[in-house]
């Protein structure tokens, strides 16, 4: 009874203002929260991979402690990247048509290929070449399920001679070099899905793929910092401050670039003031006030920029513990800010009518197939997968694994920010 009353009250609230095309009068946007989660997860993959590439391609030695963690993070999120899309499709059972009969003029058609390429030819291969030596070593010492898994993952290649190991290292580097443009491609195309829609002035914008790539790099780097700090906290070891400081530096400069390009986008929109700018301004300042101005611009961008920028200037004067606290809170804010950015792009573009005469609203369902619970589960899933990966491939008790978190020293602590 109460539920019925609540439904009636919700339905009675104004859903539309002004004139919207009759087909736009739906109860929730066509692309709902699942399509917010999808580019968020994909972006985290691309960003985490870029972080790992800094070690391999640009030989940033100080970041070696997080190399494997970054790659495993990218893989865990990559494996879950398609799930929101699949849950959203009207006919998920027909999803393979995208790969069997792709329509090459569609940005979405290339998804299957870019995804398969990135997963199979970049992530899995790079991880395999990197781990092969360890798999061989571990398969000799480990028994039970672990032993079976490691033995299977050697794929029968147990040669640990000097030339074989040299080849592993060389292949790893080549794949990393190929992987960087692939990561840009993976997320640039996600931006192009929105940027290519000229019917929608909120989306149709050549800067969209670039904005998506940059925000992906920012979010992925922040995720690596977050994962590293949480891992150190769980294992009660002190994080390698040299590594952490350097990660934060890269994150800060990526953020500066990202904020500059997003600012340029808005500057251009406001200055050129094309048809529909009044609608866009209205959406930004009222409908998306909390997620765009507060969530994305202030908490997700300005505050972390100020915090991390200050740390760049006075790093040496701040104690390690306080620095870690600032880093941890900044990365959490950045991760939330980028999620807000995805929300603003995806949902914001569906809060006004293409007639440019009216507005729609979005009341997210709590349960249901496009609801709050499913999206939270889909965001949580990659973290669970990552935990399993860490258990198996970054375990502390494995013999040859000095590089789990090298430089880290045992400690006791109780909060990630203190890790």
């Amino acid at each position: 009874m109460n539920a019925t009353i609540l439904t009636n009250v919700v339905d009675a609230l104004p859903q539309f203002e002004g004139y919207v095309y009759p087909n736009e009068r739906t109860f929730h946007p066509l692309w709902s929260v699942l399509i917010v989660v999808y580019p968020y997860i994909t972006g985290l993959v691309a960003g985490a991979f870029i972080m790992a590439s800094l070690v391999r391609v640009f030989k940033v030695k100080a970041l070696e402690p997080i190399y494997r963690l970054a790659l495993l993070t990218a893989l865990a999120f990559m494996l879950c990247a398609t799930l929101p899309l699949l849950c959203h499709l009207g006919h998920p059972e027909r999803c393979f048509e995208i790969m069997m009969t792709p329509h090459f003029s569609s940005p979405m058609a290339m998804f299957g290929f870019v995804y398969a390429w990135y997963l199979m030819a970049v992530l899995l291969l790079e991880l395999w070449f990197d781990y092969r030596r360890d798999f061989v070593e571990w398969s000799k010492t480990e028994t039970g399920l672990r032993g079976i898994i490691y033995r299977a993952f050697t794929l029968g290649v147990t040669d640990l001679s000097e030339p074989a190991l040299r080849l592993d290292a060389r292949m790893g580097r080549i794949i990393s070099v190929v992987g960087i443009p692939s990561a840009f491609l993976l997320h640039g195309y996600v931006g192009f899905i929105f940027g290519s829609i000229k019917a929608n002035p909120w989306w149709g914008n050549p800067l969209m793929p670039i904005i998506f790539i940059l925000s992906a790099v920012v979010s992925g780097m922040a995720l690596c910092v977050f994962a590293y700090m949480v891992l150190c906290w769980v294992r009660r070891i002190t994080a390698d401050m040299r590594c952490l400081d350097l990660m934060i530096s890269f994150l800060f400069y990526a953020m500066v670039l990202d904020a500059a390009i997003e600012g340029l986008d808005w500057l251009h929109r406001l200055y050129s003031a094309e048809e529909g700018i009044e609608v866009l301004k209205s959406v930004a300042s009222s409908k998306l006030f909390y997620t765009l101005l507060i969530g994305q611009a202030c908490l997700g961008t300005l505050v972390p920029l100020l915090l991390l920028g200050t740390m760049q200037l006075i790093r040496k004067k701040v104690a390690d513990l306080n620095r870690r606290r600032v880093y941890f809170s900044s990365t959490v804010l950045i991760l939330i800010g980028v999620l807000a950015m995805r929300w603003n792009v995806v949902i914001g573009g569906q809060l006004f009518s293409k007639s440019l005469r009216g507005f729609m609203s979005y009341k997210m369902e709590f349960s249901g197939h496009e609801g709050w619970w499913l999206s939270v589960a889909l965001i949580a899933l990659p973290f669970i997968v990552l935990t399993v990966f860490i258990k198996f491939f970054l375990a502390q008790d494995l013999p040859t694994l000095e590089n789990v978190v090298p430089g880290a020293t045992p400690r006791t602590g109780s909060h990630p920010a203190q890790a």
Binding site: Y19, Y21, P22, N23, E24, R25, T26, L30, W31, L85, H88, L89, G90, H91, P92, R94, C95, E97, I98, T101, P102, H103, S105, S106, P107, M108, A109, F111, I193, S196, I197, K198, A199, N200, E275, G349, S353, K354, S355, L356, R357
Partner: protein, 268 residues
């Protein structure tokens, strides 16, 4: 490095490039054949889409907003409740305030229930109305359809006769085409979970009949014809000759095959 570049190697590469270019038409034909086999237009056997070019013309000055076309469309095509393959918009433009220096006042648009039941009298007092008119809307049958361009599987396509169709047995229901349509003509059918839109009553026009909305319009505001097979004293040709014809959202370059006469600048 330079000693590796030989004439033979250059010629080989050039030959490979030419071979690739020559193979493209064959590849495209294969792709078209596969699409033809997989995507169905449901036209009757014997109908040759290459021998027709359909066009819809709408005379804004003739539309009386009775809503019969909308009702006929819904009945003919079993359009689900709350969705529209065609609809009618009412524009009410008020007089400018005295001394405002404007040419017109506020523009109010509505389309209650898609105009299916007609329109009740406007809330704006008659003496305040500068002008008011009805605009029928439907799929614009774009020559360069943004909707077919973005379909990831080719389930929606432009038929050679100008109709833009969706194969509901092939559509994956991603909604990309609905987002890409600038005119709000597509919707996700809640029964089939696939994209849906006006087909120009393809099941009728391929059998020599007119679309349901054209057939029922009492004021001949909708004119439909075949540009490749004009009839004597063709109403479509007369319409084009006697009117300044326009299309919706021209700046987007979609090339609509639905043309309007008497369109006001406020119509989007």
């Amino acid at each position: 490095m330079s000693e590796h570049i030989t004439r033979r190697a250059v010629l080989k590469n050039l030959a490979a490039m030419v071979g690739g270019i020559l193979a493209m038409p064959a590849a495209r034909t294969c792709k078209a054949a596969v699409q033809h086999g997989l995507a169905s237009s449901r036209a009757p056997a014997g109908y040759d889409p290459f021998k027709h070019k359909w066009l819809m013309a709408l005379d804004v000055d003739r539309c009386i907003g009775c809503g019969l076309c909308v009702e006929a469309c819904c009945r003919e095509n079993g359009v689900p409740e709350g969705h529209w393959r065609t609809w009618i918009e009412r524009y009410v433009i008020t007089k400018p305030k005295a001394g405002s220096g404007e040419t017109r006042g506020e523009t109010m648009v509505d389309s209650p229930d898609g105009g299916k039941e007609g329109f009740t009298e406007s809330l704006v007092p008659k003496e305040d109305i500068l002008k008011s008119f009805f605009v029928p809307k439907l799929c614009n049958l774009c020559e360069h359809s943004p909707c077919t361009q973005v379909c990831p599987v080719g389930a929606t396509f432009e038929a050679p006769d100008g109709a833009v169709l969706v194969d509901k047995n092939y559509c994956i229901g991603c909604g990309f085409c609905i987002q890409a349509c600038p005119y709000g003509c597509r919707f996700l059918n809640p029964e089939t979970h696939t994209a849906d839109k006006c087909t120009l009553c393809y099941h009728r026009i391929t059998r020599g009949l007119k679309p349901a909305c054209v057939e029922i319009c009492p004021s001949q505001a909708r004119i439909f014809g075949d540009l490749k097979n004009p009839v004597p004293d063709d109403p479509l040709q007369r319409f084009i000759a006697n009117n300044q014809v326009e299309e919706l959202k021209k700046s987007l370059g979609t090339g609509p095959r639905v043309i309007y006469a008497g369109l006001d600048e406020e119509v989007r």
